[in-house]
C-alpha cells in the first residue's frame, strides 16, 4: 500500500487502463493535494475522462495503484447530467437520501433553483440540470469532487453560475478535479494542471507556471490552440 500523507488526497502509481488492447492510461503517477482544484487538460480522447472515471471507481484499472478517500466521500458530475425522470426535488433526494428538507431548500436556493424544485428534472434547462447535478453531488459534502466538463454545453450565464458554485465548493474545502476545454475557464479556476496526452501524464504543474510556459512541447502546442 502507498502511504498517503495528510497533505495528499489522491495518489496513483503506475495507473494503467487497457481496453480491447488499447492503452487508455499508461502508468500514470499523480499526487493531488487535499483542498486543491486541479484541472485535467488534453486533447479529445487523451484519457481525461477515463482518468476521472477510474479514480472514481466507475472504470476498473488494469494495473497500478490508486489511493484516495472512500467511495462515499467522492462524487462525480458528468458532462451531460444524469437525472432521474422525476421532480428536481425527488431526484435530489435520490442522490442525497439523508438530506433533511431544510438543507434541500438551502441547496436549491444556493443554485437559484427554488422555483424549480417541483419541476420535472428533464424539463429544466441545460444550465439548471447541471446545477441540480452539482448540488446533488455537493449536498453530501464530499471530500473529493470530480467534474467532467461540467460547462461544455452551457451558455455564458449558466457557465458563470456553475463556476461560482465550483469556486464556493472549493472555498469550503472540497478537493476538486475537473476537465475542461475552455482555456479561460481553466485559468480562472485551476490551481494545479495535469496535462494528459495519449494516456500519458506529460505535465503536472502549478496552473500559473503551466499557462505561462508548459515545458512539454506537445502541451505547449495544445495550449496555443486551446
Amino acid at each position: 500500500m502507498i502511504d498517503i500523507s495528510n497533505i495528499l488526497i489522491v495518489q496513483t502509481r503506475d495507473l494503467t487502463v487497457v481496453r480491447n488492447g488499447k492503452t487508455l492510461l499508461d502508468r500514470v503517477n499523480l499526487d493531488i493535494e487535499r483542498g486543491s482544484l486541479t484541472m485535467l487538460l488534453g486533447h479529445n480522447g487523451a484519457g481525461k475522462s477515463v482518468l476521472l472515471r477510474t479514480l472514481h471507481g466507475l472504470m476498473t484499472k488494469t494495473d497500478g495503484q490508486i489511493n484516495g478517500p472512500p467511495a462515499k466521500r467522492q462524487k462525480i458530475v458528468f458532462q451531460k447530467p444524469i437525472l432521474l425522470r422525476r421532480s428536481a426535488r425527488k431526484h435530489f433526494h435520490f442522490v442525497c437520501p439523508g438530506c433533511p428538507d431544510k438543507d434541500t431548500e438551502a441547496w436549491f436556493a444556493h443554485a437559484g433553483l427554488q422555483a424549480q424544485m417541483d419541476t420535472h428534472a428533464h424539463q429544466l434547462s441545460g444550465g439548471e440540470q447541471q446545477k441540480l447535478a452539482l448540488i446533488g453531488a455537493l449536498a453530501s459534502q464530499p471530500s473529493l469532487l470530480f467534474l467532467d466538463e461540467p460547462t461544455s454545453h452551457l451558455d455564458y450565464e449558466s457557465t458563470t453560475a456553475i463556476e461560482q458554485m465550483i469556486h464556493d465548493a472549493h472555498a469550503n474545502g472540497t478537493t476538486i478535479i475537473m476537465t475542461s476545454h475552455n482555456r479561460a475557464q481553466a485559468e480562472r479556476l485551476a490551481q494545479q494542471v495535469l496535462f494528459i496526452h495519449e494516456g500519458q501524464l506529460l505535465e503536472s504543474r502549478a496552473a500559473a507556471d503551466f499557462f505561462h510556459k508548459p515545458t512539454d512541447p506537445i502541451a505547449d502546442n495544445f495550449l496555443n490552440h486551446l
Partner: protein
C-alpha cells in the same frame, strides 16, 4: 344474416345482462388479469435483472424467453396439459379443466412478453443510469426498483401487450380448460363453439363484446398513462 345483426345481438345480450354471457365475460377477465398480473410481477424484475446484470445463465434465460415469444399457444397448451394431466408430474394438483389451468397457460404465454419487452425498456434506461448508479453505489435491489419506477409509462404498454395476448388466446385455454359451460368457458372458446355450431351471429356478437372489452381496457390504460404523464409534469 344481416350485417348489423351481430351488433344488435351483442347489444341486446349486454343490455339483458345475460347471466351466461356475464359469467363468460367475468371468467375471461379474471383469468386474463390474473395471468397478466402474475406475469408482470415475476417478469418485470427478471427483465430488470437481465438488463442490469451479467450472471451465469443470463443468456439461457434470454434465449428461452425469446423462443417462447413465438411459441404457438396450442403447443403451450399441450405442454401444460401433459404436465398437469392425471398421469403428469403435476397431476396431483388436480387443476386440469379448471380456470387455474387456464391462468397457468396464459401466464406461460405472456411471461416471455413481459420479460422480453421489459428487458428492452430497462436496458435503454439502465445504460443511461449506470454511471449514476455506480457513482452512488446503488444496491442491486434499489437499481431494479428505480428502473421499474422510472419506466412506469412504458410498462403500461407492456401490460397492454400482455393483456392483448392473454384475452385473445384460444388454443391453450381450450386444451387445458376444456371449454366447460359455467366452469371454464371464456370469450374466445365460446366464439369457437358458436362458430362450430353455425351460430355465426352469436359468435360475431361475442366477438364484438370481446372487442369492446379490449377497447375498454385500452381506454382505461390510456387514462392511467395520461395520469402518470400529468403527474410527471406536475411532480
Amino acid at each position: 344474416m344481416e350485417f348489423m345483426d351481430p351488433l344488435k345481438l351483442a347489444f341486446a345480450m349486454l343490455m339483458a345482462l345475460d347471466p351466461e354471457l356475464m359469467s363468460i365475460i367475468s371468467l375471461s377477465l379474471v383469468v386474463s388479469f390474473t395471468a397478466v398480473g402474475a406475469a408482470l410481477v415475476i417478469g418485470l424484475p427478471i427483465g430488470a435483472l437481465l438488463s442490469s446484470y451479467r450472471f451465469p445463465g443470463r443468456w439461457a434465460i434470454i434465449t428461452v424467453s425469446n423462443t417462447f415469444l413465438g411459441m404457438p399457444p396450442v403447443v403451450v397448451g399441450l405442454f401444460i396439459y401433459v404436465l398437469i394431466s392425471r398421469a403428469g408430474p403435476f397431476g396431483w394438483l388436480g387443476i386440469l379443466y379448471t380456470s387455474y389451468a387456464m391462468m397457468l397457460a396464459q401466464f406461460v404465454l405472456v411471461l416471455p412478453i413481459s420479460i422480453a419487452l421489459s428487458r428492452q425498456v430497462f436496458e435503454t434506461l439502465n445504460n443511461e443510469y449506470t454511471p449514476l448508479f455506480l457513482s452512488l453505489r446503488t444496491s442491486k435491489l434499489n437499481r431494479v426498483l428505480v428502473l421499474i419506477s422510472e419506466s412506469r409509462i412504458a410498462l403500461i404498454t407492456i401490460a397492454l401487450a400482455c393483456f392483448g395476448r392473454a384475452i385473445s388466446e384460444v388454443g391453450a385455454v381450450m386444451i387445458v380448460g376444456g371449454n366447460i359451460r359455467h366452469s371454464t368457458r371464456v370469450m374466445t372458446t365460446a366464439i369457437g363453439l358458436e362458430t362450430s355450431r353455425g351460430e355465426l351471429a352469436k359468435a360475431l356478437a361475442l366477438g364484438v363484446v370481446l372487442l369492446a372489452i379490449a377497447l375498454s381496457v385500452n381506454i382505461a390504460s390510456q387514462m392511467i398513462r395520461s395520469k402518470f404523464e400529468r403527474n410527471i409534469i406536475n411532480d
